[in-house]
Amino acid sequence: MMIFRLAFQSLMNRWVTACLTVLAIALSVMLLLGVEKVRTGARQSFADTISGTDLIVGARSGSLNLLLYSVFRIGNATNNVTWKSYQDIAKMPEVKWIVPISLGDSHHGFRVLGTNGDYFTHYKFRRGQSMTFAAGGPFTDLFDAVIGSDVADALGYKVGDKIIVAHGVGSISFIEHQDKPFRVSGILAKTGTPIDRTVHVSLEAIEAIHIDWQSGAPVPGESISADAVRKMDLTPHAITAAMVGLDSKLATFKVQRRINDYAEEPLSAIMPGVALQELWGLIGTAETALSVVSAMVVATALLGMVTMILTTLNERRREMAILRSVGATPTTVLGLLAAEGGLLTLAGVITGTVGLYVGLYLARPYIDHTYGLSLAIDPPRADEWLKLGLIVAAGFVAGLLPAIRAYRLSLADGMMVRV
């Protein structure tokens, strides 16, 4: 204990450098733990993109492809699903609800998604959270659109504004559905999911804006007015995918198999939670990179500490000599310097951990709102405690390096220090 008190007093004597060293270690520990928090937060937010949906049904393809285009609006469908198949699935006794999705058009680079009103009640994210409207409400008219919060922010739309949907999905489009503008009926609150970047319209509207087109282009002189189209049969012929909710989770695999074996049309039914995990497995390598970088930062901070102790060693030869003169053995000197390294690291680890939690508490609402990333404030897990413990141990070991040098010096110098 005596050694620790001596080490502490000696550090107090050089408090500026000591504080800076503690700060460097604290920052590196904050980074190490912070990266871990962001990593688990990102993983959770990713897994929370869709919840409450038991199956996603689309044309026969890989589960990742189907997940990417139906949930993340990345890439395109391999094929469409006919309306007949959609109705057949809807009729299955185990199916509680089914929501159609139709993709293919865009608005200033944001995807337009055709669906029905059930979408807003059944699509859940973040462990069963429902979408809420920041302004306005769901569709009430054929040409109503509900936009995500990013769309509203980026394009400055308010409820009641008129928007024109472009054909195709490029950010610059040459063919627009100019004759049939949409009215913004609602703006959704921020979700942190791809919904924020989507323009939602009704399936019938998707059908309506293409009704006077042929082979994917408008026919000159043959346009049907927006009013005339309201009187026509707007039942869609095909959709891109459908989200399915079941009465019981026990039926999930049965229904999935039945859809995959559906003889009339090659379909794929995927479990979104499983596909999300597969996808994370692919992009999750970035996680490892982050962890490696933060471990390097910790190593750098420890190296800085060793340098600090080593450089002051020369100035402290007299201190060592005095200690020796009052009866300290060279081993005591060794212990003293090792304790110094340990104490500095311990102080750094404690400051860093406390700092991280204070920072998390303060920054959490902002991060959640701006990036849709919900960071959990929970005590360090077992492996994080282990990492912290390892850093303190590494501090002691690093302290040994200057300690051994001091031990040698104190043996050689004896009482006669030639400064």
Partner: protein, 191 residues
């Protein structure tokens, strides 16, 4: 007369169309990878439903129709082993689980569950793939104690290397893998 004829014709079509749809040869095959099986687990309330699909290669070491007495015995023995679900997939004793139903089939991959095997490609030695399909229903008195699962599947069946596990429960869906080196499954998030 022509009316009667057209009436007959349309009736004939009404009958013929569904018949034709039935006859349409619908061909598709699921994946079949030796060494890899799939275990689907659905949990709700105090009920757990499991379905295991494994290539015959993993379970008995061959996939043709069992012809010798020895092969037939091997298939029967494997079926009996797989039928005792709680011995193959051990759930925590505290959960007090009981197997309600267990149904094990060994069938060709081209066949649907329960389909009669009357093809003529069953000659001994004919190249083909077969799979073991097992479905189980389990009830547990304390389902919240089902925190994990341990399996002797890999030590029982020498050809098995990997089980892809899909889990769905009211808490969400997850995917995991059980291997020869790690024959356990964590279910803490699912209950």
């Amino acid at each position: 007369m022509s009316k009667v004829l057209s009436g007959l014709a349309s009736m004939a079509m009404l009958i013929a169309v569904p018949a034709f749809a039935d006859q349409a040869d619908h061909r598709q095959l699921g994946p079949h990878v030796h060494g890899q099986g799939t275990l689907d687990i659905a949990i709700e309330g105090n009920k757990i439903e499991m379905e295991l699909v494994s290539p015959g290669m993993d379970i008995v070491g061959f996939e043709h129709i069992a012809s010798t007495d020895e092969q037939k015995a091997a298939v029967e023995k494997a079926k009996a082993k797989l039928a005792d679900v709680l011995a193959v997939f051990k759930l925590p004793a505290a959960a007090n689980c009981k197997a309600e139903t267990a149904n094990v089939e060994n069938r060709k991959e081209t066949h649907k569950p329960g389909e009669k095997d009357d093809d003529d490609d069953d000659k001994p030695g004919a190249p083909q793939h077969s799979e073991f399909h097992a479905t189980y229903t389990i009830t547990c008195e304390a389902p919240e104690r089902v925190t994990g699962l341990e399996t002797v599947y890999f030590s029982n069946f020498a050809g098995a290397q990997l089980l892809n596990v899909n889990v769905t429960s009211p808490k969400g869906q997850t995917q995991a893998q059980m291997t020869r080196d790690k024959p356990t499954l964590d279910l803490t998030g699912a209950m």
